[in-house]
C-alpha cells in the first residue's frame, strides 16, 4: 500500500542524503520524494511516498525520527490531505495536430507554456491520477520529453504541527561499576 509521510528537516547540507541513505540501507522503497523550503528559515519540508505495509511504515517513521536533523515526521496517509504533483510535458504537435493537443489540455485544465513549430510544452498540476490521465491521452501524439516534481502534500483544515520541540537535557550515563 502507498503511504505518505511529511517530514520537517533542518535545512543543512547532507540532510537529503541522510534520508535517502536511510531508505536505501533499510531497503524501503521510495515512490516519490520532494524537498523544499518552508515559511520557517532553516527548516525544509519533505513529502515522501513509499510502498510499504503497516509494520514497515512504522519502522520508517521511527528510523526517520532517529536522524538528528529530522524535526518532525507525520504520517498523513489516512488524514484528509491535498496532494499535488506537477508535470511539464513536451508533446509533438505540428500545424495539423496543435489544435487537438490544445483541446485536450483544456479538458484537463492544464496550460500551454511554450509553443514551437514542431512541439508544445504543457504544464499540469494536480493529483497523480489526473496527470497520468493527461499523459495517457497525449502519448499517441508523441511525448518528446517529460519531467515531474513528485508529490507534495498538506493536510486540510487550520491545524498544523509544531516543528520545534524543546531540547531535552540528557541524563549522563553514570559510572556503574559498583
Amino acid at each position: 500500500m502507498q503511504y505518505m509521510l511529511v517530514a520537517y528537516v533542518e535545512d543543512k547540507p547532507g540532510v537529503l542524503n541522510r534520508v535517502s541513505s536511510l531508505f536505501r540501507r533499510r531497503a524501503f522503497n521510495i515512490e516519490s520524494l520532494t524537498v523544499g523550503h518552508t515559511d520557517q528559515p532553516g527548516v525544509s519540508r519533505m513529502t515522501i511516498v513509499v510502498d510499504a505495509d503497516e509494520m514497515e511504515i512504522r519502522r520508517i517513521e521511527a528510523n526517520l525520527y532517529k536522524l538528528v536533523n529530522v524535526l518532525r515526521v507525520e504520517n498523513v496517509s489516512s488524514t484528509p490531505a491535498v496532494t499535488r504533483d506537477l508535470a511539464l510535458i513536451k508533446v509533438a504537435a505540428d500545424i495539423n495536430t496543435r489544435a487537438q493537443v490544445m483541446q485536450l489540455v483544456d479538458v484537463f485544465r492544464a496550460r500551454i507554456v511554450d509553443v514551437a513549430n514542431e512541439s508544445l510544452m504543457v504544464e499540469i498540476t494536480g493529483t497523480e491520477d489526473k496527470i497520468e490521465g493527461l499523459i495517457e491521452v497525449l502519448r499517441p501524439l508523441g511525448i518528446i520529453e517529460m519531467v515531474r516534481t513528485g508529490i507534495v502534500a498538506m493536510t486540510r483544515g487550520s491545524t498544523t504541527v509544531t516543528v520545534n520541540p524543546p531540547l531535552v537535557p540528557a541524563r549522563v550515563p553514570e559510572m556503574t561499576t559498583a
Binding site: 532517529k66 531540547l167 550515563p173
Partner: protein, 574 residues
C-alpha cells in the same frame, strides 16, 4: 579568547572530562596534534587506527564515559570504519575526530582525501564535516551530547585542516548544543505501565531477558530488586552478561544460539517475556515464527525503532530502562513462582554445577578447562575482553561475571580483532582492575600489532590465546553444515611466544591441563603484560548450538562422547 581551531578541539575535550585519547597522527590532523602538547590529555599511540576506535570503544564500555579516537584524513579515517561500525552495533558512545584536507581541496581528490562523512553516514549515530573554526566548539559539544545520550552510539567529527589552523573567538557557553530534532529522552504512556504491571502480576511463567541496556542505563540494582520481589528468573544476552550476578539463584545464564538448553527452553515455555534493554537479535531468537509462542512480551527500550522490529511487543515501554523499572517496581507484587522455578531447575539438572575442575586429565587441553580455570583463579573478578568466535562463546559460557561492565565483547558486529585493542581502552578506563584478553589464534592476528602499544604505554593486560589452529567457529559450521569440508579454516600461526617476546612481553605456552594454573598465576604475578599461548584441542566445538534460523528449542546438544559430558554441563541426560 582567540584560539586556533585545533586548540578549541582540546579545550572542548578537556571540558568534556576527557583524560585519555587513542589515535594516530597524520598530515591532515597535524595542527590538532601540535596543540595537544599544551593540554592535560594523555594520548595513546595505537599501531593501526582500527585499534584506536576499538580502544575508545573498550574505554567507553568499561567506564560508561565517552571514548575518543583521533585519526588523520583518508586512510587514517577509513581505517576507523570497522571500529565505528562495531561501536554502532553495540550502542557504545565514542567520538571520532578526523582530520580532513583543507576545505578548498575538498571534492578535488586531494592527497589523502576521502569522503569520510559519506563513508561513515550509515554506521554513526550522527556525523559532521566542519570547515570553519568557529563551528568546532558547538560541533564537539553536540557530538559528546549525542554520543552518550539516549541510545548511545558513535559520532564522527571531520575537521578540515584550515579550520584547525584558523583562529577565532572561543566561547564555551555560547557553543551549547542546538539540536531541535534530537529527542533522546522519551517516556512511556501511563496506560502502558498499567498493562505491564497487570501482565507481570498475573504471569505464571515469566522470564526476564536482560540486555546491554541494563549496563547503559545503570539499572543493575533495580533489576535485581524487581527480579527478587517478583521471583522472576533472569536470562541474559551476550552483552547483558554482568547486568545480573551470575551467582544469583535467579540467574539463568546466557540465552540464544549458544545459550544453555534450559535457558532457551525456559524462554520457549514462558508465558511472559520481560525484554529489558535488548533488541531481539537473530542470534537470540532463532526462528522468529516459533519464538516464545505462548508468551506475552513487554519490551522496555529507549530506541522506539526497536519496538516491533523483530518481535511484536504486547506492551512497549519506551524510555530509559532504569527510570522505567523504578516506576514499575512499587506496583510489582511479590509472586510465588516456585512451580516455574522448580520446573526450570529440573531442566537444568546437575548441569548447573558445571564443575569441570575435577575432570580426569586425558592429556588434552580444552578451551572450557582454560576459561573455567581462569575464572576460578581470578576469583571471577577480572574484566574479560573477548574476541569473536568460539573463544568468545566459551568465555561467555565459562567465565561467570557478577559485576556489570566486566564482560566486554563485540556482539552485534562480531568484529574479530576487537579484543586486544579494546582491552587497552578498558585498562585506561579501569587502571586498577585485572584485565584479561581471551582471543582465538585467528582474531588475535588481526590486531596483534597493538602488543607494541601495550609495551610503549607500559600497561598490563594479560592475553589468553585459545590456539586451536583453526578459524574455529567457521570450522565448526563447516563440520556441522558443510560435511567437514574445511575451506580456508586451517590456520598457520607464528610462534606466539617468540612474537610476544619480540614485543618485550613475557610469554608462556600451555599444552597440558596441569600447566594452566601455574601459567595463569605467573601471568597474574608479573608486572607487565603476559601472553599465554593455550594449545587447545583442535576440533572442539561450542555446544549447545541453535543452527542459524532454526527454532530456539532445536539445539545441537553436546555429543555424549565429548569430554564435556563429564562436566555435568550436558543437560541431555536429564
Amino acid at each position: 579568547m582567540q584560539l586556533t581551531g585545533a586548540q578549541i578541539v582540546w579545550e572542548c575535550l578537556v571540558r568534556q572530562g576527557v583524560e585519555t585519547v587513542f589515535g594516530y597522527p597524520g598530515g591532515a590532523n597535524l595542527p590538532i596534534y601540535d596543540a595537544m602538547l599544551d593540554y592535560p590529555v594523555h594520548h595513546v599511540l595505537v599501531r593501526h587506527e582500527q585499534g584506536a576506535a576499538h580502544a575508545a570503544d573498550g574505554y567507553a564500555r568499561a567506564s560508561g564515559k565517552v571514548g575518543v579516537a583521533l585519526a588523520t584524513s583518508g586512510p587514517g579515517a577509513t581505517n576507523l570504519v570497522t571500529g565505528i561500525a562495531t561501536a554502532y552495533m553495540d550502542s557504545s558512545p565514542i567520538v571520532c575526530i578526523t582530520g580532513q584536507v583543507a576545505s578548498r581541496f575538498i571534492g578535488y581528490d586531494a592527497f589523502q582525501e576521502a569522503d569520510v562523512t559519506g563513508v561513515t553516514l550509515p554506521i554513526t549515530k550522527h556525523n559532521y564535516l566542519v570547515t570553519r573554526s568557529q563551528d568546532i566548539a558547538r560541533t564537539v559539544r553536540e557530538a559528546f551530547y549525542i554520543a552518550r545520550s539516549g541510545r548511545p552510539g558513535p559520532v564522527l567529527v571531520d575537521i578540515s585542516k584550515d579550520a584547525q589552523q584558523a583562529s577565532c573567538e572561543f566561547d564555551w557557553d555560547a557553543a551549547a548544543p542546538r539540536l531541535p530534532g534530537y529527542r533522546p529522552d522519551l517516556s512511556a504512556l501511563p496506560s502502558e505501565y498499567q498493562k505491564a504491571i497487570d501482565l507481570i502480576n498475573s504471569a505464571k511463567r515469566p522470564v526476564i531477558l536482560a540486555g546491554h541496556g541494563v549496563m547503559v542505563s545503570g539499572a543493575m540494582n533495580v533489576l535485581q530488586e524487581l527480579a527478587e520481589r517478583a521471583t522472576i528468573p533472569v536470562a541474559m544476552t551476550l552483552l547483558g552478561i554482568g547486568g545480573f550476578p551470575a551467582s544469583h539463584p535467579l540467574n539463568l545464564g546466557m540465552m540464544g544460539m549458544h545459550g544453555e538448553a534450559w535457558v532457551n527452553h525456559a524462554i520457549q515455555e514462558a508465558d511472559l517475556l520481560l525484554a529489558f534493554g535488548m533488541r531481539f537479535d537473530d542470534r537470540v531468537t532463532g526462528n522468529l515464527k516459533s519464538y516464545a509462542p505462548n508468551a506475552k512480551k513487554i519490551h522496555v527500550e529507549i530506541d522506539p525503532s526497536e519496538i516491533n522490529k523483530n518481535v511484536k511487543a504486547d506492551v512497549a515501554l519506551v524510555g530509559d530502562l532504569r527510570d522505567v523499572l523504578v516506576t514499575l517496581l512499587p506496583s510489582v507484587e511479590g509472586g510465588d513462582r516456585a512451580e516455574w522455578l522448580d520446573h526450570i531447575n529440573e531442566m537444568k539438572g546437575d548441569a548447573a554445577v558445571r564443575d569441570i575442575q575435577n575432570l580426569p586429565d586425558d592429556g588434552h587441553l580444552y578451551a572450557a578447562h582454560v576459561i573455567n580455570d581462569l575464572w576460578r583463579l581470578t576469583g571471577g573478578e577480572a574484566i574479560v575482553v573477548s574476541d569473536v568466535g568460539q573463544n568468545q562463546m566459551w568465555a561467555a559460557q565459562y567465565y561467570r561475571h557478577n559485576r556489570p561492565r566486566s564482560h566486554i565483547t563485540s556482539g552485534g558486529l562480531g568484529t574479530m580483532g576487537f579484543a586486544l585493542p579494546a582491552a587497552i581502552g578498558v585498562k585506561f578506563a579501569r587502571p586498577d582492575e585485572e584485565v584479561w584478553v581471551i582471543a582465538g589464534d585467528g582474531g588475535f592476528q588481526m590486531t596483534l600489532c597493538e602488543l607494541a602499544t601495550l609495551a610503549q604505554e607500559n600497561i598490563k593486560v594479560n592475553v589468553a590465546i585459545i590456539n586451536n589452529g583453526f578459524l574455529g567457529m567457521v570450522r565448526q559450521w563447516q563440520e556441522f553444515f558443510y560435511e567437514r569440508r574445511y575451506a580456508a579454516t586451517p590456520l598457520l600461526s607464528p610462534d606466539f611466544c617468540k612474537l610476544a617476546e619480540a614485543y618485550s612481553h613475557t610469554a608462556v605456552r600451555v599444552t597440558q591441563r596441569s600447566q594452566v594454573r601455574d601459567a595463569v598465576e605467573q601471568a597474574r604475578a608479573e608486572l607487565g603484560t603476559v601472553v599465554l599461548d593455550f594449545r587447545v584441542e583442535q576440533e572442539d566445538s561450542v555446544f549447545p548450538m541453535v543452527p542459524a534460523g532454526a527454532d530456539l528449542h532445536a539445539m545441537i546438544r553436546r555429543p555424549t562422547s565429548s569430554v564435556l559430558v563429564e562436566t555435568g554441563a550436558d543437560v541431555g541426560k536429564r
